[in-house]
């Protein structure tokens, strides 16, 4: 068993390559059993951060621990799973041989390993391709066999670096289900992604990374933060707008359509009463939570360019 403590803790983790700072003072905590989304544009430092946690790259400064052990510790690595971004494996091996090779590197062997391999091949729907060489696998198949590889040791923490980037919708659904199963089994998942829909569907919590620093954090699936209440009105008299401003910032989206940013759902009936009391027709009203994409773009700011 690994030592107690959160799944991941980092304190001002820093890595530079020459003059380029890839990760700058990364401080974060991932709890045991948590599905954690690590978001950011290309080049934000997500993969470098993940590689430091796996011991593949040494930090230039700062410290951290994984499963209660120092970064790169071998005992901790025995309880980690990892699917790298470009999912490149020895392509002269068959799917089964690749899983056997990686299983042995985890210290597994014999009947236990073979049973585990069969179960994982079935889970990622590759049993019929198990005896084929990886060189003949499609991108999606490689990613699925890579996922199986990351789960060989029944890990306590799994790092997935863009796990769905090569997958078709069915493959994505499989990954989403797998993450759900891991969560149910109490396995922590550290998910690097910029596919916000995927993250929104699977993660408990996300942080946004930009230029090597954490810019924002958001807990998903809990009623918190700002909600947008959009109203379609017969008229928009200034006096009504002034009164609605008491509930939160008001903006006119289009003629006859206004948006009020409120802090909770309970504001909706009160706002409706104000509109009716002012003698204005309330034609439609909708409450919405800003999407992850809206938050993402707001965090990046107007100056953001594609990475």
């Amino acid at each position: 068993m690994s030592a107690p403590g959160p799944a991941v803790v980092t304190d001002a983790l820093h890595r530079r390559f020459g003059d380029t700072v890839a990760v700058d003072a990364l401080t974060l905590t991932v709890e045991r059993g948590e599905v954690f989304g690590f978001l950011g544009p290309n080049g934000a430092g997500k993969t470098t951060s993940l590689k430091m946690l796996l011991g593949l790259i040494a930090p230039t400064a700062g410290s951290g621990s994984v499963l209660g052990r120092p970064l790169g510790d071998r005992a901790a690595r025995a309880k980690l799973g990892f699917l790298p971004e470009h999912f490149r494996f020895h392509d002269w091996m068959t799917g089964r041989e690749m899983l056997r090779f990686h299983g042995r590197l985890y210290g597994l062997s014999g009947r236990g390993l073979e049973t585990r391999i069969d179960a994982l091949l079935a889970r990622v729907d590759l049993l019929d391709a198990a005896e084929r060489r990886l060189a003949g696998y499609s991108k999606g198949m490689l990613q699925r066999i890579g996922l199986a590889q990351a789960l060989l040791n029944d890990p306590e923490l799994v790092f997935l670096d863009e796990p769905t980037s090569g997958l078709d919708p069915l493959g994505r659904l499989l990954v989403r289900d797998l993450i759900g199963e891991l969560k149910a089994a109490g396995t922590a998942v550290f998910l690097n992604s910029h596919l916000l829909g995927e993250v929104e569907a699977t993660c408990d919590r996300v942080v946004f990374l930009q230029a090597g620093r954490v810019r924002a954090e958001r807990r998903l699936g809990e009623p918190s933060g700002t909600l947008a209440l959009e109203l379609t009105l017969g008229t928009t008299p200034p006096a009504l707008l002034a009164r609605l401003a008491a509930f939160g910032p008001v903006s006119v989206v289009a003629p006859g359509r206004i948006r009020v940013e409120v802090t909770g759902e309970s504001a909706a009936p009160a706002i409706a009463r104000e509109v009716v009391a002012a003698g204005v027709d309330l034609e439609a009203m909708a409450l919405s939570r800003p999407t992850l994409e809206e938050t993402f773009l707001a965090v990046l700011g107007d100056g953001a360019r594609p990475g």
Binding site: G55, L56, I57, E85, H90, H102, Y106
Partner: protein, 280 residues
């Protein structure tokens, strides 16, 4: 370090050599090489053994000369194969990203280096055994010739191959595949040229040329292992009278063997150190 993990990596290296037809190519060309030598040797032997041809006393020396020529080719093939076999095993897997999932496992980087070294060393020594063994068998069966001191000469050839193999793996942790190949071949060229300078310099009593050779042998001791092997595998008559190009004028000191073994160990240690610090 877990020996089981070392063997897992070595096993995968052997498996790769088999799967990617490296072993097949080695066996086919090794067999062709031995066959070609057999035909040539048989023809030469007929010529030498004809009445009125080569004097009786010189016949064994002449036959040994042709066996030495064959062994010289074995030496050359072994060194080049040792450079090529592992030339992209580190750099290629680092560049492609294959190394990431391997190095993230609960094994040390030293385990990966040692496993790869062991796997490639087994392939190389198998190859050397095949071509040297085949050649010596042909020489014995067809000509009744067997060079002396094979128990000294053949291990020296193996050591020469291991020097190159270890260097190729070590440099592969830092250089790209092509840069590694160019450096390894360049080092061998340096030692090769230095070796000849040393011999010619000694024969002509030109101390400067001899020094160049000694320095080259210290920088890369592969060629001097061949010279020492060649010295031991020739009949006394041939080597003392300098009857063939393989007669060594300046015999490398036994200390050179210790230097070469130390060289392999230092290259191996450097490979581990460099790879352990490498960002993957």
């Amino acid at each position: 370090m877990s020996l089981r993990a070392v063997w897992t990596i070595a096993g995968a290296t052997l498996h790769e050599a088999l799967r990617r037809r490296i072993l097949l190519a080695a066996v086919i060309f090794g067999a062709v090489f031995v066959l070609l030598f057999g035909f040539g040797f048989a023809a030469v032997r007929r010529e030498i053994m004809q009445d009125g041809g080569t004097p009786l006393s010189l016949r064994p020396v002449m036959l040994n000369f042709f066996v030495m020529a064959g062994l010289y080719a074995v030496n050359f093939l072994t060194v080049l194969t040792a450079a090529c076999l592992p030339v992209d095993t580190m750099s290629g897997e680092i560049a492609s990203g294959v190394m990431q999932t391997v190095a993230a496992k609960p094994i040390s980087r030293a385990t990966i280096v040692l496993g790869k070294w062991l796997g490639h060393a087994i392939v190389l020594l198998g190859y050397l055994t095949l071509i040297a063994g085949g050649l010596l068998l042909v020489a014995r069966v067809l000509g009744g010739v067997s060079p002396p001191n094979l128990h000294i000469g053949l291990p020296l050839l193996a050591l020469e191959g291991l020097i190159m193999l270890t260097m190729s793996i070590a440099l592969g942790t830092r250089l790209s595949t092509i840069a590694n190949a160019v450096t390894c071949i360049g080092l061998y060229g340096l030692a090769f040229l230095g070796g000849w300078f040393e011999q010619v310099g000694t024969m002509l009593r030109t101390p400067g040329a001899g020094d160049v050779g000694v320095v080259a042998s210290l920088v890369f001791p592969a060629e001097s292992m061949w010279q020492l092997a060649a010295y031991h595998m020739q009949p006394v008559l041939a080597r003392e009278l300098h009857l063939t190009p393989f007669s060594v004028a300046n015999v490398p000191s036994p200390l050179m063997v210790a230097w070469a073994i130390g060289y392999v160990l230092v290259c191996g240690a450097l490979a581990v150190r460099w790879f352990s610090r490498r960002a993957l």
